[in-house]
């Protein structure tokens, strides 16, 4: 099969899957089998595509041309391929996890849940493989719209309010800032294609470049740069599998992925350096990554803490791009994968704790390590990886980002990175320490529903296997990424070839 056909498949499989899921709605086992089969197929297609990309191919597909000169086109470069691979692989894991979580918690409207999940993955593929800015924009908006029903899954007043924040900020910034930025790019460059070295260099003054960069960076709301990060904590009202795959991987990574692509293929890192626009972005990203970590410290709700941690980690990727060096881009690209595995593990654990013990607040989690040893061990691994400490994969991406910062002489940034690592430890480790060493809290007053039926306290009380196995897998993934980080580097190498070696 040609690359173009494979891309078409990668876009159509989730769509078809969503349709079948809707049809199989009355038979849960069949419905979930369809989900799993769709996820497996999608991953297989991604692997097949990745083999091609490794061989140096650039699979491409051109569909239509809605407005003159701007086709809907797809074309895969290494970073997009990596993003597609990570998202589709984690979808398989998340699908299993969802089965455990959704059934154990007796969630309603599961058909809508699985169908929207498949659609969201389709939109993610469109973003990952997009060949020009318009296509990216379409996928980006589709991702917002398809995840909205997932955020408002509970359909109560609280989730509708959160849904409004979610939609308002994401749609608002993308229409008000990103779209004008795209149109302006079109006016300046006469093309919207992603090209090595960028398309706007030489067409605009430094001031315009700075303005354009601002429009892009705040227009891509999914990258959650402060002060447009509020949608991410709001999205935490969704069921945990959604927070895990979409709001730690697909949606937010789509944001930083587009940021990296815009920096590398629209502006070009040379332009970012020469125009001085990059230093503004470095400043904003640095402030975001420190501030968000501080806010995370103050959150007692585990998912809220994880959300702010994500905001902080996303800023790492933006920072990496803004540093505009080979190492920076490499580190940013790697961090997309590293953080994906680490954060999804943490969310899986949060969901498992909720499923098994119905605890959501960190302060209630004393002694739960004895009831849920596997979960808390996985949590430890995930936390280490996110913080950037061995044996987690996050070590390497942070290493490169720090190298890039040091290489370009941004010593304050290096300091901020180290400070952020400390803060990471400060907000994660108490959870782990409390789980293992603090005395078990009195029987929680909040235990609700049949699931929390009192069992012997002190005994093992893990979440269902459907939850437990996925979270162990992703935790192992974090460690594997630590060991095999070199392969990841090779995979991304073509992307940074030919970039400036300044400060390398």
């Amino acid at each position: 099969m040609s690359g173009g056909e494979l891309i078409a498949l990668a876009l159509l499989i989730p769509l078809a899957g969503a349709g079948l899921i809707a049809l199989a709605g009355r038979r849960p086992n069949l419905r979930e089998s369809v989900t799993i089969a769709t996820a497996l197929l999608l991953f297989a297609v991604n692997v097949r595509l990745a083999v091609g990309v490794l061989d140096g191919e650039t699979p491409a597909l051109r569909v239509l041309e809605p407005v003159e000169g701007v086709p809907i086109a797809f074309s895969i470069e290494p970073l997009g391929m990596l993003f597609g691979l990570v998202a589709s692989f984690l979808w398989i894991v998340t699908s299993f996890y969802s089965i455990g979580y959704m059934r154990a918690n007796g969630e309603a409207r599961q058909t809508r849940f699985y169908a929207c999940f498949a659609l969201a993955l389709g939109a993610t593929m469109a973003v990952a493989f997009s060949g020009n800015l318009l296509t990216t924009f379409i996928g980006y908006e589709a991702l917002t719209l398809t995840t909205y029903p997932l955020v408002t899954h509970h359909s109560d007043a609280k989730s509708v309010r959160a849904g409004r924040t979610y939609l308002g900020i994401l749609l608002g910034t993308s229409i008000a800032l990103l779209l004008p930025a795209i149109v302006a790019t079109w006016m300046l460059a006469g093309t919207l294609d992603f090209r090595a070295g960028g398309i706007v260099s030489g067409t605009a003054s430094d001031g315009v470049v700075l303005l354009l960069l601002g429009l892009y960076m705040f227009g891509i709301g999914k990258a959650a740069l402060m002060p447009i990060h509020r949608w991410l904590p709001a999205a935490m009202v969704a069921p945990t599998p959604v927070s895990a795959l979409l709001h730690a991987v697909a949606v937010v990574k789509a944001g930083v992925f587009v940021v990296l692509k815009v920096i590398v293929y629209v502006f070009g890192i040379d332009l970012l350096n020469s125009s001085g626009a990059g230093s503004w972005l470095i400043g904003i990203a640095t402030i975001t990554l420190v501030l968000a970590s501080v806010v995370a410290l103050t959150k007692d709700n585990l998912k809220a803490r994880l959300a702010y941690s994500t905001v902080s980690q996303l800023a790492y990727v933006v920072l990496a791009g803004a540093l505009a060096t080979q190492w920076g881009v490499l580190g940013g690209g790697m961090h997309i994968a590293m953080h994906a595995f680490g954060k999804i593990t943490l969310f899986f654990c949060a969901g498992a704790i909720y499923t098994a013990l119905h605890k959501t607040e960190v302060s209630e989690m004393g002694g739960i390590g004895r009831a849920m040893p596997v979960t808390m061990l996985a949590f430890l691994v995930g936390a280490l990886s996110v913080a950037g400490l061995p044996p987690g994969g996050g070590t390497w991406s942070k290493w490169y980002i720090a190298l890039a910062a040091a290489g370009t002489g941004h010593l304050i940034v290096v300091g901020a990175l180290m400070l952020s690592t400390l803060l990471n430890v400060a907000y994660f480790m108490p959870i782990v320490a409390r789980a293992w060493f603090a005395p078990q809290a009195a029987r929680p007053a909040r235990s609700v529903g049949a699931m929390a039926a009192p069992r012997e306290s002190g005994g093992l009380q893990e979440a269902p296997l459907f939850c437990l196995i996925p979270l162990s897998l992703t935790a192992l993934g974090c460690i594997a990424l630590f060991v095999f980080a070199g392969d990841l580097e090779t995979f991304l190498a073509p992307m940074i070839d030919g970039l400036s070696t300044r400060g390398r």
Binding site: V67, L134, R164
Partner: protein, 492 residues
């Protein structure tokens, strides 16, 4: 047969109307109206194709030669508008069967189709004629029938709305007539092409200027230019659903066409734009209309009224394109005429389905209806996305060209405004979506079923058009471009 198509376009519905009056039987009238609407669409498409291939078609009524006799002219511009009007008619006619049967008393159903056919004939007539006075005649035919159609609405407020429209519409028509009279006074002719010739040496005349003012303001009333729009929200909100769809898709578009025809063909670009601050005035009114009416739309509780306010705002976008006074701006405006016709028709069609089942379009009444009428509300959502201007829908394409046109002039703030006001559309569309899907149905309501197929099929044809013209734009964009160039070409 072929050369008589222009007159058939108008005369078919005009003859079918009295036939329906004689028959009076609801279902038979419906059949006649539907067949005639479809035939009209076929004729309009043929005419447009002829106009695109072979240039302007001129048809002399009764073989009386042009400046003395009445002449029908089809060029790219009005061929395009004819297709829009006829297409909306062709979709509304089948849809009306169930909708009208539900909303009107039995004895009025036959009359409804009579009025509908008259209105269609009037609108097509305004569009096709090349004679200034003839425009007034057809304007009255379409207006009088639409007043009556609106007054058929189920609520007593419909009478009030129709009366309000009658008063404002009559003032508008009178203004238009005064304008045409002044032109006749100065030139002694009513034929548009002839008028254009005769007016050239009279560019400095104050009387011509007054005529221009009367005509533009008069049609502005019919067109619902902000701030002359006050009749529109009531009229659309209280009219029977099928009438709302029909008027929303056609009436204001045709009025806008008349304005375009007069300012470009009759008065000429130089006179209209270069000789006086018409462009800036239009720009200000357009922007004010877009902003104010979008904001008002947000605060509506009745979805039909919300859509009506949004219509006034959308008319602002069309005028905005016109006010740039460039080929690209005009193209964007024309494109938006077409795209807005299909998106707003789709939205009103969906609301007609909801009204059929629930008897109300208020936000609290439609709570939770998304799960009970999934196809209808999915159609509403897609057309709503088009209204917002989400990519892959028709609405995106017109917004894209509007923004490009603004940037071409170097008007950054206007481009930003177009984009920002789309966000207001997000808010009011989402209010409906949220109510339909994410709110629990009111306790009193029983479960309702999906709308009947005879209504769903027209709805989904329009929805498909919204998607199709978002993907495959060569049809709509190229025709709009050709029409815009033809209009501008007359001056350059």
């Amino acid at each position: 047969m072929g050369e008589h198509l222009p007159i058939l376009q108008v005369i078919l519905p005009l003859i079918a109307a009295p036939v329906c009056l004689l028959v009076r039987h609801g279902a038979v009238c419906w059949l006649i109206a539907t067949l005639v609407s479809w035939l009209c669409l076929a004729i309009a498409v043929l005419l447009l194709m002829q106009a695109l291939d072979g240039g302007t078609i001129r048809y002399q009524l009764g073989s009386w030669v042009a400046p003395w006799g009445i002449e029908y002219v089809v060029d790219r511009l009005n061929g395009f508008i004819l297709v829009i009007v006829a297409a909306v008619g062709a979709v509304v006619a089948p849809y009306a069967l169930r909708s009208v049967a539900e909303e009107l008393p039995e004895r009025q159903i036959g009359l409804f189709y009579v009025l509908y056919l008259l209105c269609l004939s009037g609108l097509l007539g305004i569009t096709i004629t090349g004679d200034a006075f003839n425009v007034f005649v057809f304007l009255e035919i379409s207006s009088l029938s639409s007043y009556a159609l609106i007054s058929m609405g189920r609520h007593r407020k419909a009478l009030h709305a129709a009366y309000q429209y009658l008063v404002m519409g009559t003032i508008g028509a009178t203004f238009f007539l005064i304008g045409v009279g002044l032109l006749y006074l100065m030139t002694g002719t009513l034929n548009m092409a002839d008028l254009a010739e005769q007016l050239k040496p009279l560019a400095g005349s104050r009387i011509v200027l007054a005529a221009f003012g009367f005509i533009v303001v008069g049609m502005g009333l019919k067109l619902a230019v902000f701030p002359l729009h006050l009749w529109l929200p009531n009229a659309y909100a209280h009219a029977p659903s099928a009438v709302s769809v029909f008027l929303a898709g056609t009436a204001t578009k045709v009025s806008l066409y008349v304005v375009l025809r007069f300012i470009f063909t009759v008065f000429g670009f130089e006179f209209s734009f270069a000789g006086q601050p018409f462009g800036p005035a239009l720009l200000i009114l357009a922007i004010a209309g877009i902003v104010v009416c979008s904001l008002v739309a947000i605060y509506q509780d009745d979805v039909k009224r919300l859509l009506a306010w949004s219509s006034v705002a959308q008319i602002g976008y069309m005028l905005l394109g016109l006010s740039f006074a460039t080929a690209l701006g005009l193209q964007a405006g024309l494109l938006h005429i077409f795209n807005h016709a299909i998106m707003k028709a789709g939205l009103f069609l969906a609301m007609g389905c909801v009204f059929l089942r629930l008897g109300s379009c208020r936000l609290e009444a439609i709570a939770g209806v998304g799960r009970q009428m999934p196809w209808t509300m999915a159609g509403f959502l897609l057309c709503g996305l088009s209204l917002i201007g989400v990519p892959l829908t028709a609405g995106f394409v017109s917004k894209w060209y509007l923004v490009l046109a603004a940037l071409e002039k170097g008007w950054w703030p206007v481009a930003a405004l177009i984009v920002l006001t789309s966000l207001l559309a997000v808010v009011y569309v989402w209010k409906v979506v949220e109510a339909a899907w994410f709110r629990e149905p009111p306790g009193t309501a029983g479960r309702v079923g999906e709308a009947p197929l005879v209504m769903l099929v027209p709805l989904w044809i329009v929805v498909a058009a919204n998607i199709w013209f978002g993907f495959e734009t060569s049809g709509s964009v190229d025709v709009a471009k050709a029409a815009a160039l033809a209009l501008m070409g007359a001056v350059e």
